[in-house]
Amino acid sequence: MAEAHPVGFQWVIEAKNRGAKVIHVDPRFTRTSALAHTYLPVRAGADIAFLGGVVNYILSNEKDFREYVLAYTNASMLVSEEFQDTEDLDGLFSGYDPETNTYDQSSWQYAGQQDEGQEEEDSHVDRETASGLEQESHGPPIPADVPRDPTLQDPRCVYQVLKRHYARYTPEVVERLCGVPQEKFLEVCEAWTANSGRERTTALVYSVGWTQHSVGVQYIRTGAIIQLLLGNMGRPGGGVMALRGHASIQGSTDIPTLFNLLPGYLPMPHVSQHETFDQWIDAIRHPEQKGFWSNAKSYAVSLLKAYWGDAATEENDYGYGWMPRLTGDHGTYQQVLDMIDGKIKGYFLLGQNPAVGSAHGRAQRLGMANLDWLVVRDLYMIESATFWKNGPEVQTGEIVPEECKTEVFFMPAASHVEKEGTFTQTQRMLQWREKAVEPLGEATSELWFFYHLGKIIRERLAGSTRTRDQALLNLTWDYGEDEPDGEAVLKEINGYDLTTGKLLSSFTEMKPDGTTSGGCWIYTGVFKDGVNQANRRKPGSEQNYVAPEWGWAWPANRRTLYNRASADPEGKPWSERKKYVWWDAEKGEWTGDDVPDFEKTKPPSYRPPEGASGVEAISGDDAFIMQGDGKGWLYAPSGLIDGPMPTHYEPAESMVRNPLYGQQANPTRKVYQRSDNLTNPSPPERHSEVFPYVFSTSRLTEHHTAGGMSRQLAYLSELQPEMFVEVSPELAAERGLEHMGWAHIVTARAAIEAKVMVTDRLTPLRIEGRVVHQLWMPYHWGSEGLITGDSANDLIGITLDPNVLIQESKVGTCDIQPGLRPTGRELLKYVQDYRDRAGLAADHHTPIMTVGEENADDGQQ
């Protein structure tokens, strides 16, 4: 956190000065560890084993916040008798199909609801379309009435299922898998549990590197399970918080730059699943379900009205027919492979530098070199704009500048201080920022660029009667002649009552009949009362500690989600020290320091009538109001592709055989088995010893991601001027590496070179009785800028988490050797030699299901 989020880290320092204990768990000793009380080195890729150990510690010592767990989680609900755990099936849950590598999730359901479960086919489509992302603002569908055992004794209740699942994740196992000494591990368990409960809460803060694993979503799930068991959700000082990699990454999923989502986490229509408007709406609101998604039609119709204005009518389903449709996986990695295969002709890159910043840099560059045209909008001529003349493939002869057919259009972009707009940060808070200076030269804002691009395209299409052009021609597209007004756009996002022309003040005012508009329902209220609420800057000293008048948070300016859970089932604060939102019986309403996340006048004693659905079905003690059953999920009966409970799988590349299960790695991970995307062998495959070391990559404080914003600046470049690799003195001795000498690192994809930094900050770990060395690299360098160097991301292959299609880029296996790497054609031969020794022929298929396989043959199919 100190490395990548130094400004946020000031609050950790503040807490430390007030007596907080800081524990840092990381594969390497970083600037965060330097300030922590306790540092635990851990093996990269073994976090579920570590956190599963914490779950086991909580359950076996009964350290859970029992009243909270009973009231607000699904601990008491009974799971189907057909459910079988990974503990029964050697690392697979029930319902696995080795043909498609997906699950039939019917048996994961609550008792009596097996019919509600997802079929394999749906599961496959969900993986292709990363449908897990839709759950950012709500849970997946689940029926409301579930049999329970409030005594938590029934062996089929979630509490007992969870307890059995994690029973083997003992401190001994944590030590064997993660390399963390038991006493240090127990120190973490004791600190976390002692600081949770009625009187205290603990926050879990992670940075997005945690998500970049083939089990990334399940990492976060394990953290969420712990926080639910300890009563740390919906309460002040609790929560699970993601520190994003850039300003407004939260905003870019709220109003997404993702292929599968529309604003406000509405799903992008799928060609077969959502043929009609009603099918699409019903897929969002799930008619019999509890909760606020029952109003989905209002949100959806308002969005379409914002897009198409008067052209969106009830008769034409508000223009639903003009919406693009998903046909499968259109994620960024699938697209790159499609570029290589010649299926994609043109591409826009906006403030993104995949030639350096995305996994498998060579595939990224070869893909872009096979386009007809490419538009790059950035602050500088980044590697993704010059790969055709300066990229590493030019040296190897794989790209010949004279022959590369891609026509690159470089458009200078205004930086964040040169344009106005909002940033949305990890607390979902929008903060307006003013333009400080005019952009230099021909640089323009994104708003300007897209507005004028749209205008030109619409002029070209004017008069067209082709159906496919109507979506563009009918757009509301009127933002003046020059620079669009950012506030006008924010107002459109907020939404209007179209009958009066007034701005909406809350999404509850949205209507399903086309009389309201709104570009993103969760942002409705940001322009409440005609005031740009995101621009509020009342000092903390002039308001309560929650500071509701600084900026604006979605939804409804609520700073802590599910804050009904900060009061007990009767509506009283759990403790005076942690009071936050409570039921005022006299006034008959919810009140407190924050905006209550509950219907204002629904009493804690409210119980829904028989057969109720939607908001009416939310009981007075259903704190998790966006979940289909109103409860926080310790066990996810639906919605996750790889299983209802997190399970330790080895990373897609590991030299360690999974000590817990026959199943080596995530059996549902998304793989692209191609000759240009080979995976280093892992047990039970043979030859894993060719790549005997674990590597991880991350950022340095001094640089920004792919370097476009830092390697062009002398004051930052001088602070970390060269690509380097950190190794322990033990690994340096083993491989003959010298401090400040050269070394090169090799995987099945590439070999890159770096200066060696021998440091005690890395340490070998003892894993399963053997010594495992880890090495670490920053990933900021490329071929452009004041300082250049090889890119760490060239080493990484494309293997994705099945739920959200994020790449596994924080752990892999490699070799490291002293000296510079070969150059030119020799480099290709050198990497090929490694592939040959690792048994990775061009048609090699990495086995996905490994239960019952020991030292399988080379994995050929």
């Binding site: 100190a2 130094p6 880290f9 000031q10 320092i13 000793f29 600037r31 965060t32 560890s33 330097a34 300030l35 635990l40 080195p41 390399g179 000494p181 240090k184 340095l700 404080t701 001094e702 004051y715 930052l716 470049s717 001088e718 602070l719 970390q720 001027p721 380097f724 003195p729 033990e730 340096a732 001795a733 003959g736 590496l737 010298e738 401090h739 400040m740 000498g741 050269w742 930094m757 021998v758 440091t759 005690d760 900050r761 340490t763 070998p764 770990l765 003892r766 010594v771 004041l786 300082i787 070799d815 050797q817 002293p818 000296g819 790497r821 070969p822 020799e826 050198y830 030699d833 020794r837």
Partner: protein, 373 residues
């Protein structure tokens, strides 16, 4: 000029002739909360338009600035350090520490900073020598390209193998604290943002023949770049090795404590940018009180090694306008343990010089007397 003007506690602004000057301003840099982000270095350079000092990977942990020079007025030092007498590092299967070896290699890899004299090797060397158990590789020989060797066993020398050699040109087989390679002990990483000390008795100012260096009303010491003639006397006058000349320009440059911001009641750029309040700016008297409380707090929190550096008006420079809270001895951070302004010795020197002159005169008299004979 009072007798104290050469040495001891004074108010430097008053001493310089200001009538009722504003309170003396300074920095208190609390290294116990420094996270080594280097925002201070960048903010300083941006505000003061200081040039970069070259793109050199120094190999001294994350420090690629190297020291305070004419082109770096803030410098974040990084010290990787075994904790003496502690348990093996994190309880893991470890070999010997790399710290001494890497420090020595880093100390020998002087890099150009675009300034003169730039970073004195002694600064790094002090830090290197202060770490326990010096053992290092004989020479930083480059390894051959691994192209032909494939995954074969390495042939280069092992980095941790001790060998005799030279340390900064001197035989180094028995540096203080040296011992046989011991298993790695527990470990810490110290960070410290260094800066000009704005001494009460400023050696640089005392020797400046042009008046380019002057004492401001805030008690700070500033070089006027339109007066400096580049003579370089100030460089030998500074007990901390801070002030330095810029190549091509020849003039001396250093921290101004953002004199141009202070006049407007603004905080200096580095302190403004520091995210963790490691760099605190304020009235020196108040900062000294705050620092004393902080030391007390740290001692109570089980950090007995916390100590102040440069805060005492009774030290060799009459106290620093920019002082520090350190977590180890000053040498570990590359700071002189007992700095003193050259003028401290002036009275004694005058006495000696006078005596010498008398002796010489007497000798001459005797000599002449002898000749007459």
């Amino acid at each position: 000029m009072g007798s104290n003007s050469l040495y001891g506690p004074i108010d430097p602004a008053e001493d310089a002739g200001y009538d009722a000057p504003p309170p003396r301003m300074g920095f208190f840099t609390d290294t116990s909360v420094c996270i080594g982000c280097k925002a201070c270095e960048v903010a300083c350079k941006t505000w003061n338009d200081v040039p970069d000092d070259g793109f050199n990977l120094l190999g001294h942990s994350y420090d690629n600035t190297g020291g305070l020079t004419a082109n770096s007025w803030r410098h974040v030092a990084f010290i990787e350090q075994p904790v003496r007498g502690s348990q093996p590092f994190a309880g893991q299967p470890t070999g010997p520490s790399s710290v001494p070896a890497t420090n020595v290699i880093a100390a020998r890899s002087a890099a150009p900073t675009g300034t003169e004299p730039g970073i004195p090797p002694a600064v790094d060397a002090l830090a290197a020598a202060a770490t326990a158990g010096i053992d290092f590789v004989g020479g930083a020989t480059s390894s051959g390209c691994g192209a032909s060797s494939g995954g074969a066993a390495p042939s280069g020398p092992a980095a941790s193998s001790p060998s005799s050699g030279q340390f900064l040109g001197m035989p180094m087989s028995d540096l203080p604290g040296k011992s046989a390679p011991a298993p790695r002990s527990d470990f810490r990483w110290l960070m410290m943002s260094n800066v000009c000390k704005h001494c009460t008795h400023a050696g640089c100012l005392d020797v400046c023949p042009t008046g380019a260096l002057f004492r401001t009303e805030f008690g700070t010491v500033v070089v006027q770049d339109d007066i400096c003639n580049g003579c370089g006397y100030c460089i030998s006058g500074c007990p901390y090795g801070v002030i330095d000349r810029r190549e091509g320009d020849g003039r001396a440059w250093k921290c101004t404590l953002c004199y141009d911001r202070l006049g407007d009641g603004q905080t200096p750029a580095c302190a403004k940018a520091c995210p963790t309040e490691s760099i605190q700016y304020g009235e020196l008297d108040e900062l000294r009180e705050r620092a004393a409380k902080r030391v007390e707090q740290l001692h109570e929190a089980g950090v007995p090694e916390a100590k102040l550096y440069g805060e005492s008006p009774d030290d060799g420079v009459g106290g620093d306008g920019a002082f520090f809270l350190l977590l180890d001895e000053p040498e570990v951070y590359g700071l002189p343990p007992d700095p003193h302004v050259p003028t401290r010795d002036l009275p004694a020197m005058w006495k000696k010089a006078g005596l010498a002159a008398l002796t010489m005169a007497a000798t001459a008299v005797v000599a002449f007397a002898g000749r007459r004979r």
